[in-house]
């Protein structure tokens, strides 16, 4: 195993991650979907056929679509049906997530569980607030920590250092990242989102879930993912690398308009979903 790099050599580490060829390429299927939807004549059936060609991927997408995430009373049995019921953006998000599932599993033990936990919590909070885009907010929650995947796979030695600092110095993960690298997984998430041409509705929560007060495109989504991340860490579902619960942004709390008494119904709505999501911990 290589020895940890000099932690002063942050410039080298930064260049390593910033080199585009070090960022994972967007999953082929997601690139194809993005291309065909640029054509205004593309139908839902066309997109459905494209995704359905990959049976393994389709099976993963349908498992997620039928999971406790969405709590559908009726089983979704095909990709075209998923597109109609959940909408294109949600299905595209599930395709993206399913495509990078193996990468997430390899990167950090517990990160996949943390991601699906945050997704579930984002959906629960959005529904509790009466929003009609809860499924889309859920996808933002699912992808919020993709930057950690890139860090773990591209800079494993730095990742070890970060984890040591978290344990020894009682730092938050993003604080330790900043000390070791001069940047954190949220910034890496932004580079990845740009590289993959993801919409701002997804890239903003990836970039700002630790500083939601800076969000301008989707401030409510970002605030929801920020709170969901905190709640899932507090419950201890999965492992995003943090040992400690971070403080909530006062601006995000104020924006959401929640009261302290809302924690109990949110937790009670979330518990059965987390229990039911066990079957998604092995998506393969």
């Amino acid at each position: 195993m290589a020895s940890p790099p000099d932690i002063q050599d942050r410039t080298r580490a930064k260049k390593e991650v910033r080199r585009i060829k070090n960022l994972p390429t967007v999953p082929g299927i997601v690139a194809k979907i993005s291309r065909i939807v640029e054509n205004p004549e593309t139908s839902v059936a066309d997109v459905g056929r494209l995704i359905s060609q990959d049976q393994v991927l389709s099976a993963k997408v349908l498992r997620m679509a039928n999971s406790a995430f969405f709590g559908m009373s009726r089983k979704i049995s095909s990709i075209p049906q998923a597109l109609i019921i959940l909408g294109f953006e949600v299905v595209k998000g599930l395709v993206l997530t399913s495509s990078v599932f193996d990468m997430i599993q390899k990167s950090m033990a517990g990160l996949w569980e943390h991601s699906i936990g945050c997704a579930a919590a984002s959906g629960v909070i959005a529904t509790y607030l009466g929003r009609d885009d809860a499924e889309e907010v859920l996808v933002a929650g699912l992808l919020h920590d993709l930057g950690k995947v890139v860090l773990a796979l591209n800079l494993p030695a730095e990742m070890s250092l970060v984890r040591e600092k978290v344990a020894q110095d009682r730092l938050y993960f993003h604080e330790a990242e900043t000390q070791v690298l001069d940047f954190d997984h949220a910034e890496i998430g932004q580079w990845l989102a740009e590289h993959w041409n993801l919409p701002e509705s997804l890239s903003e929560p990836m970039r700002l879930h630790h500083r939601p007060e800076k969000a301008v495109v989707k401030p409510e989504w970002t605030a929801i993912v920020h709170l969901a991340d905190i709640i899932v860490r507090a419950i201890g579902f999965g492992n995003g690398g943090d040992l400690l619960v971070p403080e909530i942004s006062p601006a995000a709390w104020s924006l959401l308009g929640l009261k302290k008494t809302d924690f109990l119904p949110i937790l009670e709505n979330l518990e059965p979903k987390l229990a039911s999501l066990r079957d998604l911990t092995a998506l393969a």
Binding site: Q55, S58, A59, K60, V61, L62, R63, N66, K75, S77, E113, R170, Y172, I230, I231, R233, A234, I235, G236, F237, G238, L243, L244, V245, P246, E247, I248, W253, K259, K260, T261, F263, L264, L267, L270, E271, L274, A275, S276, R278, D279, T281
Partner: protein
């Protein structure tokens, strides 16, 4: 995961579900599914929590399903149960080590601790009392602010009246 292996699901508050994986031909009607069963193409055959029936067993065999997970009743001692609760409360307290007492998240911490103790009613009482206290403090703060504003307005009015009043006594003295 092979047959005979037991596993637990993630569950808040120290509670959990114990499950065991068995071969389909060992399944017996009346058992409860601990996991949903889906075909390789994603089509759902049975949901988590469903009762196993003879018909379902035949279907699963036809669909070439090899193993299923069934719920098992856990036999635990009171000491073991208490141990799980204590560990959960310790975990929650440790996780919130950097959260200041005045943070809104302290309400989240206390709610989690009450739920770990299966004390939902106490969680409700605590949160209701907290809300009432904060509402009263907000009312008092508003009343104090309004009183202060009224004082400032009165001072400003007295000040301008004093500037506008004519210097009557001074002119009489001058005449003499």
């Amino acid at each position: 995961m092979g047959t005979g292996e037991r596993f637990r699901g993630a569950h808040m508050g120290g509670g959990f579900l114990l499950a065991k994986r068995i071969s389909v031909d060992q399944a017996v009607a009346g058992q409860v599914l601990a996991e949903q069963i889906a075909r390789h193409d994603g089509v759902l055959l049975a949901s988590q929590g469903s009762l196993v029936s003879e018909g379902l067993i035949r279907t699963l065999i036809r669909q070439n399903v090899d193993t299923i997970a069934i719920e098992e009743e856990e036999k635990r001692s009171d000491a073991e149960i208490m141990g799980v609760h204590d560990r959960e409360i310790e975990r929650v307290d440790a996780a919130f080590a950097r959260i200041p007492e005045e943070s809104v998240l302290i309400a989240l911490r206390k709610t989690l601790v009450y739920l770990a103790d299966k004390e939902r009613d106490k969680a409700l009482e605590y949160l209701a009392a907290l809300e009432a206290k904060e509402a009263k403090e907000a009312e008092e703060a508003l009343a104090a602010k309004e009183a202060e504003e009224a004082r400032e307005a009165a001072d400003a009015e007295n000040g301008s009246e004093a500037e506008a009043a004519p210097p009557a006594r001074a002119s009489r003295r001058k005449k003499k």
